[in-house]
Amino acid sequence: MNRYYSRRTMLKTSTAGFGYLAFAGLSTLAWANETSKTRNPLAPKTPHFPAKAKRVIFLCMTGAPSHVDTFDYKPQLNKDNGKSGLYGGRLLGSQWDFKQRGNNGLWISDLFPEVSAMADDLCLIRSMHCDQPVHPAAQTQMHTGTAQFVRPSLGAWTLYGLGTENDSLPGFVSIAAPPGQSQHYGSAFLPAIYSGTSIGRSGLGGMRNTMARGGASVPDIKNPRLTSKQQRQQLDLIQSLNRDKLNRESYQPEVEGIIESYELAFRMQDALPQLMNVSDESEKTLRMYGADGGESEAFGRQCLLARRFAEAGVRFIEVSHGNWDHHQNLSVDLPNRCREIDKPIAGLLRDLKQRDMLKDTLVIWGGEFGRTPAAQNGDGRDHNNKGFTTWMAGAGVKGGFSYGATDEHGYAAVEDKCHIHDWHATILHLLGLDHEQLTYRYAGRDFRLTDVHGTVAKGILS
């Protein structure tokens, strides 16, 4: 039994630096082939195979953006405007012009002028589909693979598989996560250490104003009474009590875990606020992200924050942006949303590129599903989980590339279909993880992100 072996080996080899995980949970660590490195469950781990992507920035659009108005060009839809659609309703052509962008001529609408300028870095997946036609369930499936059960999120699996590179910061952060959706960055049955740390979740600490400016808050990040020096003295006392316990009890990995988590927490107190303070960024950079004011400011700052986390070695960074559910008022609301994110995303891609980080950072954009080619309420579109578009950019994916297709109107994925399970398998693959091998034993069976599904979309790999 591997898990016994793993634990025994850990015991033999561990003298210090075990880390975080309570003893009781240890025997459930199923992934035993990393014995020398699992001592700290967050230490960087070797992937299953070499890969280009070292980290992920996931730009999550909640509410489901319309694909047929943005990244999925459907000339036939415009021609058939007003006719009855295959699945009923009257087809609604896109009111925004599509143009071919970049050297490879990717069709992207005028709603994303700035992102379009980066077309040669984008890998559009135009054949997405998922099982869930309603937002919460589809969001949950996008994050965890299933809407039926509480399961670990994509970021938690990534962290479990790869560890992280900065010991002063959490390995998985979720910026501006919608409240009450902690499952989307949770670890479920994976050890809690793999769950995402929510940064700038509105409501915690009453930081609404800071939030609006794209800043962020972390609870209990600063001591209200002690100076840093006093706190270090206090921490030394805590640690000496902990070490005393460790010395008198011959084997206590959980005490070592506590010792380490205090050191990380202590470092985070400096590192995190510092990382989140963007005042050292130049005006030019802020402008590039659209973080210098206007409607793109909040998301611009969040994207900038994402880059700073990425730069600092955080493994998985998610940034959420909401209000894409356009059942009505599409002609006004959709361009508004796009303006909020267009510059920030282009800025992020440019910035990563100029820092030579796009080559090992995987940027992902997408919502939980797409919208119907047929009209709803005259000026709106309904939910459509049968076909939609997400895109990736950066490490390991072909730039200026379009993968898969929906039917002539954009209803359903028909060519090189990419189910959310396939999408997950592909993301893990890009990180060097085999989605069939990345398992965790819980309640008597091995679980994985893709359950029994998932095929890597090889066509998009560069």
Binding site: P179, G180, D220, Q230, Q233, I258, A265
Partner: protein, 859 residues
């Protein structure tokens, strides 16, 4: 072949009389339908409402009799014999709905529909139900019953003979020692007295021992360890804190929370009654079989007094506390999911088996065919859930996004919480007439909007505004009687008026019915199949069966949970999975012995706790032994006691307790009850009106509603930490548990996710916890209180430090620790006069003791 009239696809509550199921259509009826009804449906309705055209506006499809009677988002299109409930009839008459949109059908056609509905809406467009073949055969089930340990009834055998007779003090010890001796291992040394006391105290009442208890226990233990432990156990079992501690374990299983969770997260202001019921039940040592019966079928049990009746009703809250997607647009789907959640929670909590796996296909691993799932579903489908978001006499007045409001059960006794306000009769009358007019206004606005179609977006906002207003007003009006006295409500269930049969659903999809499945229980768990009478939902029978000795799992699952809470891990370590994919018991004979003892003791939980806590095993030391570890790394044979990390409640309560701040009295109701019916947002409880106010420009609207809006914003501005309750001094088990917003002090220490059945909590050590212990104002406040207390306890510094250690760790400081403290006192730099400096230094020391691993772990 007889054409069956499938009256409803499953899960729709029949509100009116239904023609006989097997009734065949007469030629005349068929002709009526074919000549007068079908052509109209095809011509006038199908373009927007049919599978044929692929349009399902408002979720409505009219292709088949089933789809017609499921209806769309607003309810069934046709209810036989009921013109008022038949929304299609409502629509063609241009009442609340206006169909066809632009013109009215000729009077003669409307008359035809009237006639048709009144004759019972005979409809030949019946989908032939497919007969779903299950793959798991009766032979498979029989074989599993013969072969798999968990499906055989527990039988108490004889404990093995052991060599070390003096060590084994009880049957339990002989079973455990037998295993160790067989593996040539010896039991470990006993833990020191203070550790045993600390274990007992935290395990039984969730608090550290007091200074007096430490002293007297150590004295008694030196004299006679067995007697000392037995006395201490009895003392703790008699304290009300026992029920709070062990009741909370049950609440983990019962996924207790005070809001429904998910996207539209509305409060459950009456959930606390179930919480208190659970604590009281554990304190009364209510027999576990009775406890289960009350929770599953309390409403159906006889009650001698109104108080008993009230208790029984409150108990059924168990079935309705689960997370719900109130925003779900399809009512049938909502109900199917509600039933599924009830099946899942009940079977995993009580049977350690996930029957819900068989919703869409046969269970992949366990011998549970899909039909067994629908046999159980039949029980819960014939049960009405009262989850109250909000209570309303006006039926389901939901919010804009709260599309599936339930109602509440009125208690037979008056037992208002302190937060339920009395209103003057005049005020009541005023609110009621306002509500009536709002309800009427909504109907009118809807009508006028439909007439003008999509041209006027302002009217949408108007309807939203009015709907929220109605929702809020009905919540207020619903909570008081005619005189303005608060009505006491609880959450719970009631039987339906008229039983429905249930059909298996292909792939679990609501519009793909298969054969009818009689109500019943999983075959593999029954010795003789129970037959549920036709006129019974089967819920009472289910409650009796699940809590009976015949059932091979119930007692085993519960004693395993008790064992786990005391010994650290279960005998079956997968506490919610006693199936083939679960983990096999480490001591199968011990498990059976305990299960039989449990049943023989009239299902007494306290007796079982007493039995285990008095065993020698419970006193085992935690000493690590390399040779044992090599042989048994998972400690399956129990060669030592595994150190346990305190759970979140114990950590918080212990800080309050040792700083002498803890209030042991039960607070009345809950913070959520105080807030009432609210939407949960940003760590706060917010008046639902605040949401539409923003989008619909409500804050500019005149009248009473404006002040309501102002209140809503005021609550909102008071900060997002309301639910963290850092100033509360009562026990953690009374903190508000709102889904998605658990108080930080609990959340950070692996509190049970309130949407899941949690038999065993995580026990992680994270940087987040470290930040909490280093910086959280609650921790600092308790450190300050403790520092003052310690400082005043003696003039002598050594005595002060000794008191501190005994309070926090239940033991004297070790020399090395004293040295560390002294060195800290000498070097810690702090301003102020001598006393200030001394106290502030002590604050830092007290916080350090709280923060250290020794506080968090019980050895």
């Amino acid at each position: 072949m007889a054409r069956r009239l499938l009256f409803l696809a499953i899960f729709v509550f029949a509100a009116s009389s239904i023609p006989s199921l097997a009734e065949e259509l007469s030629d005349e009826q068929a002709k009526f339908f074919e000549s007068k009804i079908r052509p109209v449906l095809v011509k006038e309705c199908f373009s927007c409402h049919s599978n044929q055209t692929g349009n399902a506006k408002g979720g409505l499809r009219l292709d088949t009799v089933e789809l017609t009677r499921i209806g769309g988002n607003s309810g069934p299109a046709i209810v036989p014999n009921d013109l008022d409930e038949s929304l299609l009839y409502n629509a063609i008459n241009h009442l609340d709905f206006v169909m066809p949109p632009k013109r009215k059908l000729p009077e003669s056609v409307i008359r035809d529909f009237r006639e048709w509905i009144e004759m019972g809406a005979p409809d030949p467009r019946v989908t032939e139900p497919t007969v779903l073949e299950v793959q798991i055969t009766p032979e498979d089930i029989e074989r599993a019953k013969q072969e798999f340990w968990a499906y055989k009834p527990p039988v108490a055998g004889k404990a093995p003979q052991v060599k070390n007779r003096s060590w084994s003090k009880s049957e339990i010890d002989r079973y455990v020692l037998g295993g160790l001796e067989q593996a040539s291992m010896t039991p470990p040394k006993d833990a020191p007295a203070y550790q045993i006391l600390r274990r007992l105290s935290f395990d039984l009442v969730g608090l550290p021992p007091s200074l007096d208890q430490i002293e007297s226990f150590e004295r008694a233990y030196t004299k006679d360890p067995d007697h000392a432990v037995a006395e201490m156990v009895d003392t703790f079992l008699d304290q009300p804190q026992f029920g709070e501690r062990w009741g909370r374990h049950w609440l983990d299983i019962a996924r207790y929370a005070e809001s429904n969770g998910r996207d539209v997260n509305m409060t459950f202001p009456h959930a606390w009654r179930y919480r208190d019921y659970v604590y009281d039940s554990f304190n009364e040592d209510k027999p576990y079989d009775r406890f289960l019966q009350e929770q599953i079928a309390g409403d159906l049990l006889p009650a001698k007094t109104d108080e008993q009746w009230a208790t029984n009703l409150i108990a059924t809250g168990f079935l309705v506390l689960g997370p719900k997607n109130l925003a779900e647009q399809r009512g049938t789907q909502f109900t199917a999911d509600l039933v599924d959640e009830q099946i899942d929670t009940t079977t995993r909590a009580i049977l350690g088996t996930s029957v819900a796996c068989a919703r869409c296909h046969d269970h992949k691993f366990d011998p549970i065919p899909q039909t067994d799932y629908y046999a159980l579903a039949g029980i819960f489908v014939n049960t009405v859930s009262y989850f109250g978001t909000p209570a309303s006499k006006y039926g389901s007045i939901g919010g804009v996004q709260n599309r599936n409001s339930g109602n509440l059960l009125r208690l037979p006794i008056d037992d208002p919480s302190d937060f339920e306000q009395r209103l003057s009769p005049e005020k009541v009358a005023e609110l009621k007439s306002e509500l009536d007019s709002v309800v009427q206004e909504i109907a009118e606005s809807r009508r006028s909007r439909r007439m003008n179609d999509a041209a006027n977006p302002q009217s949408i906002n108007n309807i939203i505004r009015l709907t929220v207003k109605a929702e809020m007003l009905s919540a207020i009006v619903g909570s008081i009687d005619e005189e303005g006295n608060p009505i006491s409500y609880c959450m719970g269930v009631q039987p339906v008026d008229r039983m429905q049969t249930v059909r298996v659903l292909e792939r679990g999809e609501i519009d793909r019915p298969g054969q009818v499945v009689p109500r019943g229980f999983p075959a593999v768990l029954q010795s003789n199949p129970t037959v549920v009478p036709n006129d019974s939902s089967g819920r009472l029978e289910f409650a009796k069966w699940i809590s009976s000795r015949e059932n091979p799992l119930t007692a085993r699952v519960m004693v395993n949970r008790i064992w786990q809470h005391l010994m650290g891990t279960g005998i079956v370590r997968s506490t919610e999975n006693f199936g083939t994919t679960g983990l096999a018991p480490t001591h199968p004979e011990l498990l059976d012995y305990l299960a039989v003892e449990f049943m023989n003791s009239d299902w007494s939980i306290k007796s079982m706790v007493r039995k285990i806590a008095n065993s020698h095993c419970y006193r085992m030391g935690t000493e690590f032994r390399q040779d044992c570890f090599e042989q048994d790394p998972d400690n399956r044979l129990l060669w030592r006691m595994t150190p346990k990390r305190l759970d979140a409640e114990s950590i918080r309560d212990a800080m309050l307790f040792v700083s002498n701040q803890l209030e042991l009295d039960r607070p009345r109701a809950s913070e959520v009850a105080k807030a009432g019916f609210m939407r949960v947002r940003d760590g706060n409880l917010v008046n639902p009106a605040a949401f539409v106010g923003i989008s619909a420009g409500m804050s500019r609207s005149p009248g009473r509603f404006q002040s309501m809006m102002r209140d809503a914003y005021t609550v909102r501005q008071s900060g997002g930490e309301r639910l963290d309750m850092i100033n509360a001094k009562y026990r953690s088990v009374y903190l508000p548990i709102v889904r998605g917003e658990s108080p930080r002090v609990l959340e950070v220490f692996d509190f049970a996710e309130p949407s899941m059945v949690v038999g065993e909590r995580e026990s992680s050590n994270t940087p987040n916890q470290s930040l909490f212990m280093l910086n959280n104002p609650f921790v600092i406040a308790q450190s300050e209180a403790l520092a003052r207390l310690v400082y005043q306890s003696s003039e002598d510094r050594s005595e002060q430090i000794q008191t501190l250690f005994r309070l926090v760790y239940s033991r004297d400081p070790r020399p090395s620790e004293l040295a560390a403290i002294r060195s800290f006192i000498d070097t810690f730099e702090v301003d102020g006069d001598q006393r200030t400096r001394a106290v502030r230094t002590y604050v830092a020391i007290c916080q350090s003791l709280f923060a250290s691993a020794d506080f968090r772990y019980v050895n």
